[in-house]
């Protein structure tokens, strides 16, 4: 991790903690979009994190994403965090200008189903952007069509509001002959798969943060709650559940951080998919165990566990669902008799 990542994650941690304190976050309900919080995060310069120094950015790399996004996940921040950082980075690489304000992504076969026509200096794009995180509150969506990376301004299109199961916006946007002029599109310098890998790893980092928060909350709960005259944490069954949760958080975080820290991480087909698959599996295990340790209180809308576990459940299937990623990884391993699994495991052995 570079200094940029360290400074950003520390500042973000302060902003989020203040926000939690002033809003007395203790409910299980997902928070709505917060303009104030967005402003603080934006003022810190979050979108600059991965942009080159030479272009006025903070000069960070994908390796810096882990801490920054894990902090956001840990606090359950109601903002398009992965989308903002990755979107700004993509725009910068491609020399595209973004409108001021939050950005989101429409990347991947389940999200973007578009066609484009070329005219003199513009692209005419039509089709459906679906499951767009925070679509309704974002200024623009970055998407791919005909190998062009495109910034779609969000005003003037029909937005159908949906929520994921964590009540976060996951909207559908219909584009009808939407004209995109230069410099809002450019020949894509990365494949859809590469961009998807980074977006999914960003989500995975948020999941690691959320898992960490679930673990801490559960540790606190089992220390406070008493049954049979002693705190729950004195029961061996409960200790073993927590040990299991800890194993899973560490596995997921080590994998996700490890993949993000690879040089040119977006090219690392095997490693990224492995980290994404492992993290999603951990999320399911952690959600289940944390609810078991909490008893009925955890099953209420009021108690704050749900705020985190619902995100874990929803995020498992964003930027490619869990079985797609597993399938892709399996296909990779089984598709090339010249390269053994062991070679793949040891090839880029960072």
């Amino acid at each position: 991790m570079s200094d940029a990542g360290k400074i950003f994650s520390e500042s973000l941690a302060r902003v989020f903690t203040d926000y939690d304190d002033t809003h007395k976050i203790s409910s299980g309900r997902t928070l709505a979009w917060s303009e104030t919080l967005w402003k603080s995060v934006n003022e810190l310069g979050l979108p600059l994190l991965m942009i080159d120094d030479a272009k006025g950015g903070a000069g960070g790399s994908t390796g810096d994403l882990f801490d920054v996004l894990a902090i956001a996940g840990r606090h359950g921040v109601p903002l398009p965090m992965t989308e903002t950082v990755v979107g700004a980075w993509l725009a910068s690489i491609h020399g595209l200008t973004l409108p001021a304000g939050p950005v989101t992504l429409g990347i991947g076969s389940d999200m973007a189903n578009l066609t484009a026509k070329r005219s003199a200096n513009s692209l005419i794009v039509s089709g459906t952007l679906s499951k767009i995180p925070w679509g309704r509150t974002s200024e623009c969506v970055i998407t791919l069509v005909d190998e062009q990376l495109v910034v779609v301004n969000n005003t003037g299109h029909a937005v159908k509001e949906h929520n994921n199961l964590a009540d976060e916006p996951s909207d559908t946007i219909e584009l009808v002959d939407c004209e995109i002029s230069e410099p809002s599109f450019a020949q894509a310098q990365m494949s859809t798969d590469s961009i998807l890998r980074i977006a999914a790893l960003g989500r995975a980092a948020q999941m690691c943060g959320a898992m960490h928060a679930v673990l801490e909350l559960t540790m606190q709960y089992v220390s406070d709650r008493e049954q049979f005259g002693r705190p729950l944490k004195k029961f061996q069954a409960i200790q073993h559940y927590l040990a299991k949760m800890y194993c899973e958080v560490v596995a997921a975080s080590t994998a996700t951080r490890g993949a993000l820290e690879l040089p040119d991480a977006w090219e690392a087909e095997f490693e990224c998919a492995a980290a994404i698959v492992r993290t999603r599996e951990a999320a399911s295990a952690i959600a289940a165990l944390s609810h078991q340790c909490h008893g009925a209180i955890g099953f209420t809308a009021e108690y704050q566990l749900g705020r985190l576990t619902k995100r874990l459940w929803a995020w498992r299937d964003e930027y490619g669902d869990e079985s797609e990623w597993r399938d892709a990884l399996g296909r990779l391993v089984l598709s090339d008799a010249e390269t053994s699994l062991w070679q793949r495991l040891t090839d880029r052995s960072g």
Partner: protein, 382 residues
Amino acid sequence: MQASINIRPGDLSQYADLRAEVRSFLADYARQHGKHDWIASWMGHSPQFSKALGERGWIGMTWPKKYGGAERTFLERYVVMEELLASGAPVAAHWIGDRQSGPLLLNVGTEAQRQKYLPGITRGETFFSIGMSEPGSGSDLAAARTKAEKTSDGWVINGQKIWTSNAHNNHYAIVFCRTSPLNEKKRHEGFSQFIVDLKSEGLETRPIENIAGEHHFNEVFFKDVVVADDCLVGEAGNGWNQVTSELAFERSGPERFLSNYALTAKLTDAMQGVDSDLARQEIGRMAAHYWTLRKMSSGVAKAISEGDPPNLEAALVKDLGTIFEQEIADTTRKLVHSSDIRSDEFFDLMQSYTVMHAPSFTLRGGTNEVLRGIIARGMGLR
């Protein structure tokens, strides 16, 4: 909770040359001697193989040169170990000496003991067993009752050990004994460790056949077995602390998720080109676990190389790793039955071997319940 949620992996990419050397050594050895016994991996006992490995300088690699070591790093050792395990090579003969008995002597042994035992270990000629478990003392190691009594010129050992792997093949065992009477309030005090020659007079080794029909472990009886003063390891009475750090070494390596990798290699080779959802899903999941465990496990090696005894991390990796390798038996069974793949006798043999050995993965070296207790303690829950 203070503990970190990350393990920082070791950087193994710098050792590509060493990895290539090990691979070519293994290929040559297999060409000359065949691979029929390369199923058991670190359960497979082959003095011949261990000797060949010792000649390459790949046993006790991190130890000082004056004891026959190569003064290489723990990460280099990691590369060698994982290549051996991935191939399924029979490494049991030297494994314990390299992994724990040697390091124990390096840590607390006398100069004379190091000179006497370590060079033989590194040459792949001297083999060690672990004498911890007893009939009444499994997970609860502090219940051990085998006792050693001081005499004028040494110690006399009486009692019984059990599950002693390869006691019938090896030269020595490090035997955990009670040397002061039990104090119920301080159960962990009053233990000592001894190097015992397994051919000593009064020592009797009786085979116990395992569920797979093999003679791997033993009962070892001690009847007035006399050992000299210079067989005491470390300090008398400090056995508990010593055995605890020895166990951390025992639990820390890649053998805790690669025990049956040879089967995985066979399986993934045989499945090449199979086009089914189930195959892709299962193999994809497997790959994700191996990749993650390897990151975590190399992190444990890195921590050791930096002088950090990684008890907590080692317990995490062993808990996750052994449960995962246990599942491989069933994953293989499911995939083989659902696809029309080429099988051969060796593959069939490997499968039944893994099915029968799988239960031991989560027992040997400390059960997963015991490991979870260690993790819970590390988390501040106990």
